[in-house]
Symmetry: C2
Subunit: 369 residues, 2 copies
DNA sequence: GTGAAAGCGCTAACAG
DNA sequence: CTGTTAGCGCTTTCAC
């Protein structure tokens, strides 16, 4: 398709200079009705379309914004990307998408590529916003950009969930349901500051609430292996009655694994997720989770980038405590006498009530089936 | 960031011509060790990076491939896009992504935009491959491209699931489980040739199997409204014992709706989905469905586009019957005596056995709670 | 109202 | 080995 018509061809065919052709085609500047007609006819006949690359070179603007996210297989990022895209498209911008697959090395490569492509702005989620080579490069080049899902580095803004506070809310939920011994289940713990912040927020609030420090279980994937890992984990920590999974898929996978291990959710074990993906409400038991609004964050971050480009006032980032909400669900139930098998009744056990033994023995029974 | 260094700046600083600078920076053509050093130093000092825009203009190639899909909120497309992206990135190509939100009008707009951007190729899923203005434009401009998920138009190739055959396999599954009266639940039926092909394939096989023609229920969204729609639908078609949903989300939503209507799945109603998304195996009952491999298709389509660009032999599209497989699941159960409440026993009802009355009465009982 | 020409960043052909 | 130059498609002065 190298033989596409250029504006020169159009001008030639219309019998005029390229400037005139440019003027009428862009409807900028004067032109006689006659010329107008001739140019339009020529453009039509040649099936002419402007080349943005010529334009970009001339204007040093590409009307393209780069977007770097870990993976759109995760609906959280997919939604955010779509939200941003809608904003961009609406403003006449295109989106160059790069998924890093959670690899920090490809982050820097992606940034370089986008800068080479002269994108007008960049929207990105990095592994660790405090220490990101890619982010440094962007700053050095002063490319308009906005972070997404990363906690804002000092003095910066970011469209993100307050992972710390949200995780604390999960601890609260466990506390209110009388769970004192919990676990934290994480994927990509090392490569993601999000997971770490969630762990920290959770652990801190657990401490404040007088609960035991959460036991940590890191996994590499949410596939079949999880069942074995979970079994070992629960065997090593028999006192656990609740698990906070760092995202909903993991939570769902944990529920499935529990089912295979004959552990009743929420009877024997309560599980809480994070993200609020759609399917969480379709399953039985429904998933208790932190609901976030990725689409809104993506759109907001997109608008922020656009505002940096055209110098207008950036939209306000949402209040930290409005970036999430806790959604109750069937996967989290109060730890009460019914969930014990020792027959003892404790209507309102205090948060630090050592209910561990009962939960433990209950589960162990199941294990030994 | 308009003040980025250009190759001219580098040349100037290195005290040489731009050609020399270009040669050493690209490692193309000869250069003395001395010059080499000076140029590298200059580039380094200026933090120089090539501008792809200048390059593109000069080479009339952008190393960018456009990708048009309905929505990456659907994991099927998200996976396909990621599969394609991996291939592109690996070959040094970037991806410009446009989601059309299932709007046919935005398809043509997207195509125009991509052509203006001079993408080297296009990967796309259109609403109807037989009649797509966007696709026509692409062909007219002879842009290397590949269809994805659309049935191939005459004489063309496409990386897609054989929707027709896959849907027929669903009919087979229902038949083998003695269901004779089924429904087809569709979303975006009008704007998607995929949904239509699935319906046709399903209906045809139902006929071949001596089953009743499937009743059609079209919905606009898979949200809460579905429950009411489903209730009306089942009331209007009391003989139904199985529903084939045109995608897994819809199937999951249908299961949830059924739960709310006190209809037992699969006891009163069997449900089969389409796509094979991950969560289908995490839920209880697990979802019987058609498993597809979006990532593979996306990667294949991506390679096809690349091969068209560099003139190499395109990869073979998979055999039609290898683009899907049926996965049994708890949401589809045989229609047997146990699923009836009239007490009659029929060990092996023939496919056209009118089991309708019993299934109907069973469900009606529930409705009237 | 119109056109010639410069120049955006880069590469490649051609002289030196 | 190295520098000059033309030109990719476009917009935009600036004369006419």
């Amino acid at each position: 398709m190298g033989q596409a018509a250029t504006i020169k061809d159009v001008a030639q065919r219309a019998g005029c200079g390229v400037a005139t052709a440019s003027r009428v085609l862009n409807d900028t500047g004067p032109a006689s009705a006659e010329m107008r007609k001739r140019v339009m006819a020529a453009a039509d006949a040649l099936d002419f379309q402007f080349s943005d690359v010529g334009r970009s070179l001339q204007s040093s603007t590409t009307r393209t914004i780069g977007c770097i996210v870990p993976s759109i297989e995760n609906p959280v990022y997919a939604d955010a990307v779509q939200g941003a895209q809608a904003v961009f498209l609406n403003a006449g911008y295109q989106m160059l998408l790069i998924c890093t697959n959670y690899s920090v090395e490809s982050e820097i490569h992606a940034v370089r590529t986008l800068i080479a492509k002269q994108v007008d702005g960049i929207l990105l989620t990095v592994g660790d916003a405090q220490n990101s080579e890619g982010l440094d490069l962007i700053r050095r080049r002063q490319v308009p950009h906005s972070l997404l899902f990363n906690a804002a580095p000092a003095g910066q803004r970011s469209w993100s969930v307050d992972d710390h506070a949200a995780a604390a809310a999960v601890a609260d939920a466990f506390a209110e349901n009388n769970h004192a011994h919990t676990g934290f289940l994480a994927l990509n713990f090392l490569s993601s500051d999000r997971a770490r912040h969630r762990y920290e927020g959770f652990a801190e609030r657990c401490a404040e609430r007088g609960m035991a420090p959460p036991a940590l279980l890191e996994v590499d994937d949410d596939g079949l292996d999880l069942t074995a890992r979970l079994q070992d984990f629960l065997a090593a920590h028999p006192e656990l009655t609740g698990i906070f999974a760092s995202n909903d898929f993991l939570a769902l996978a944990a529920i499935r694994s529990a089912r295979r291990l004959f552990i009743d959710v929420p009877g024997d074990l309560s599980i809480v997720g994070f993200d609020g993906i759609k399917v969480g409400q379709m399953v039985e038991p429904s998933l208790a989770t932190i609901v976030t609004t990725p689409r809104v964050l993506g759109a907001g971050a997109g608008e922020t980038v656009l505002s940096m480009i055209d110098g207008s006032a950036p939209p306000d980032v949402p209040q930290k405590d409005q970036t999430f909400s806790f959604r109750a669900g069937g996967s989290l139930a109060p730890l009460t006498a019914e969930s014990k098998d020792d027959g003892k009744v404790a209507a309102f056990p205090s948060p630090d009530d050592p209910t561990r033994k009962t939960a433990k023995s209950n589960r162990r029974d199941q294990h030994e089936i």
